[in-house]
Assembly symmetry: C2
Homo-oligomer: 145 residues x 2
DNA sequence: TCATTTCCCACTAAATAGGTAGGAATTGAA
DNA sequence: TTCAATTCCTACCTATTTAGTGGGAAATGA
């Protein structure tokens, strides 16, 4: 029932980009240092986020990464799905891949419904929180001090 | 963001015991066959559930396992915690173990709060669903046919 | 007595997690 | 035009976790 470091680091990096949105590209090195994450490991994650269209990159000197869209349009769920795959507590909920939608006995569907409920409560939080929400939380935190 | 087969099989087995609650001990072999799970693998899981006090066992001929308590008193969350450990999407939420409660920068606490929200929504479902709820779902399913 | 059943321990193959290393390609600035 | 900064790409690596298997000792009802 855990998010791996892929998801966790990815969210940290995207949150960092959200806090610096509008300032032009941010170098991977900067993000990695600020978020205390291995640079070359994070690089791989950023490559996946780029291919998924969540960030834009600029090569060469003064290059770096920036959000492809405004923070309000990026949910945490999107980030997690790119880095961790579909949000499904158990395989039989996963209709996209070939992990099968039906599980044999009718009693088993009772369990399937339960897992679906769990899935819904997770996606509810994940898909309804955006980077903008987190950015505002951070802002409020700063003001309060 | 997945439950491993440990949790999934464990819940299946406990659900099976709930459906057969009051009928005396059920042999591991029977559960394994009904739930289509490897017998010796399930055996290890049952051992952990027994040590955690969730099931009672009886050795020898006519032996087997049965719920230690009425289905209404067993939540799915308990089962999952025994077999998968604490329900924490990320380490910094885990105050029980030595994974640390505090994460460095104040901005990071924004993320911590977010993960906490996710955790809450998960435990909400997991801890408020009991084996009795599932048993009744199964009963209703049967009646409807 | 004996078939049945739990209990216990050791082992293992494959996948996943969490990285490292090195170099090619691009680009802004001096 | 050169060069340092930076992304991009591929390959590789180690430890841990996952999902089991196998064998035998101990208990117990018939």
């Amino acid at each position: 029932m855990r998010v791996s470091t892929r998801g966790e680091y990815g969210v940290r990096a995207m949150f960092d980009l959200a806090l610096n949105f509008g300032k032009g590209p941010i170098a991977l090195k900067t993000i990695a240092e600020r978020q205390m994450v291995s640079e070359s490991y994070l690089e791989q994650l950023m490559a996946e986020l780029r291919k998924a269209g969540l960030v834009h990159s600029k090569r060469g000197a003064q290059g770096g990464y920036e959000l492809a869209d405004r923070p309000v349009n990026v949910s945490i769920g999107e980030i997690i799905r790119v880095l961790e795959g579909p949000i499904t507590p158990v395989d039989c909920l996963d209709t996209d891949t070939e992990r099968g939608p039906y599980c044999g006995t009718p009693e088993r569907c009772v369990l399937r419904n339960f897992w679906r409920e769990l899935q819904d409560s997770m996606t509810q939080v994940l898909d309804n929180t955006t980077l903008e929400d987190l950015r505002q939380d951070a802002y409020r935190l700063e003001v309060a001090e």
